[in-house]
Amino acid sequence: MSTKSIRIKRYLPEQADEAFWQRYEVPVDDSTSLLDALNLVKEELDSSLSYRWSCRMAICGSCGVMVNGIPKLGCKTFLRDYPDEVRIEPLAHFPVQRDLVVDMEIFLQHLAAVKPWLIDEASNAAEPNRQTPAQLARYKQFANCINCGLCYSACPQFGLNPEFLGPAAIALAHRYNLDSRDHGKAQRMPELNRHEGVWSCTFVGFCSEVCPKHVDPAAAVNQGKVESAKHTLIALFRG
C-alpha cells in the first residue's frame, strides 16, 4: 500500500464565493477506485467533502466527476491508471451546488422532454408485448444508458447552449423510436426537429468516447438527424 496525492476542487458556498483546490494524501493499492479514495477522504480525512455515489458498480450513474479534465465515473476509474497527481472536479457544464455535487435539473428536464416511455395508446395491458430478438437488437444498445450525465459534460455544444437537448436525451428518444412496441415517434419528433434538438450537434463524438456503458450517443444523434430530415421532408410535402 502506497499513498497518492489527489486534488479536489472544493466549493463551500457558506464559506466562500469562489471554489478552491484542496490536496489530500490517500493510501492506495491496485484495486483503489476513485470512489474508494473519495470515501476514504470523507471517512478519515475531511468529513466536510460532498459528492454523490450509490452502487459502486457503474449502474446507478451518480458518481460522475471530472478526472484530469475528462468526465468519468468514480467507481469505474482506478487510481493505478494515474501515475501522477489526480485532479478531481465537479462535472463540467452543470451548475455546482457544493464540492463535487452538481445541479442536474436541466439534464432531467431534457430527458423528460423526449417522453422516454413506451407510448402505445392501442395496447391492451392484459396482453404481453411480444418482441423478436431482431426487434430487441435494433434499440438494445441505446437502452443501456444509466443517465450519468458524462456525455453532457463532454459535449461542447451543451456547454455553449444548455437548451440543447443533448446526447443522452436524444439517444433515449432514439431508443424508444426504434422500439417495435412503441408508437410515440410522432410525439417525439417535434422535440428532435428543433434547432436545439438534433441540429445543435456538430458530431464532435466525445460523448461516445466518455460513455461508460458504450451507448454511442453520437450515433443516435446522427441517426436522429436522418430521421428528422425524413420527418421534416414528409411534413413539408403534406403541407
Partner: protein, 122 residues
C-alpha cells in the same frame, strides 16, 4: 407544436445538413482527384490534356456536373463548417451567420454555374 421560439421546428436544417454531407463527400473524393489531375498530372504531362476537348467538356453537361461537385457542394460544406465554427467561437449571431455563410456559398455557386452556362451559350 407550441409557438414559443425554442419550440420552433428547424425546417431549414435538413437542407444545410444535406448539402454539408454531399459537399463533404465531394471534398473528400472529387476535389483531391481534380487537383491531382488538373494541377499536377496534366502540367507534368502524365495525363494528356487537349485544350479544345477540355473546353468542350467544361462548357456542357459534364462541366455543369464538374462545377457542382468540385465547386458548389464543397462551398456549402465549407459554409456549414464556418457557420458552426463561428457559433463555437461565439462570433456573431447564428441567424445572421447563416445568411452570410450559406448566402456566400449560394452566390459563389451561382457565379461558377453562370460561367459554365455562358460558355455553353457562346
Amino acid at each position: 407544436m407550441s409557438d414559443k421560439p425554442s419550440r420552433r421546428q428547424a425546417f431549414d436544417e435538413p437542407l444545410w445538413w444535406g448539402l454539408f454531407s454531399a459537399g463533404g463527400v465531394c471534398f473528400a473524393v472529387f476535389v483531391p482527384a481534380a487537383i491531382l489531375c488538373l494541377a499536377l498530372l496534366a502540367p507534368l504531362g502524365v495525363v494528356p490534356l487537349d485544350a479544345e476537348r477540355a473546353r468542350s467538356m467544361l462548357f456542357g453537361l459534364p462541366g455543369l456536373l464538374f462545377v457542382g461537385a468540385v465547386v458548389c457542394l464543397p462551398l456549402f460544406h465549407a459554409a456549414h463548417r464556418i457557420r458552426h465554427g463561428c457559433f463555437d467561437l461565439r462570433l456573431g449571431r447564428d441567424g445572421r451567420n447563416k445568411w452570410l455563410t450559406y448566402g456566400s456559398a449560394a452566390l459563389l455557386s451561382a457565379a461558377a454555374l453562370t460561367g459554365v452556362l455562358i460558355g455553353m451559350l457562346r
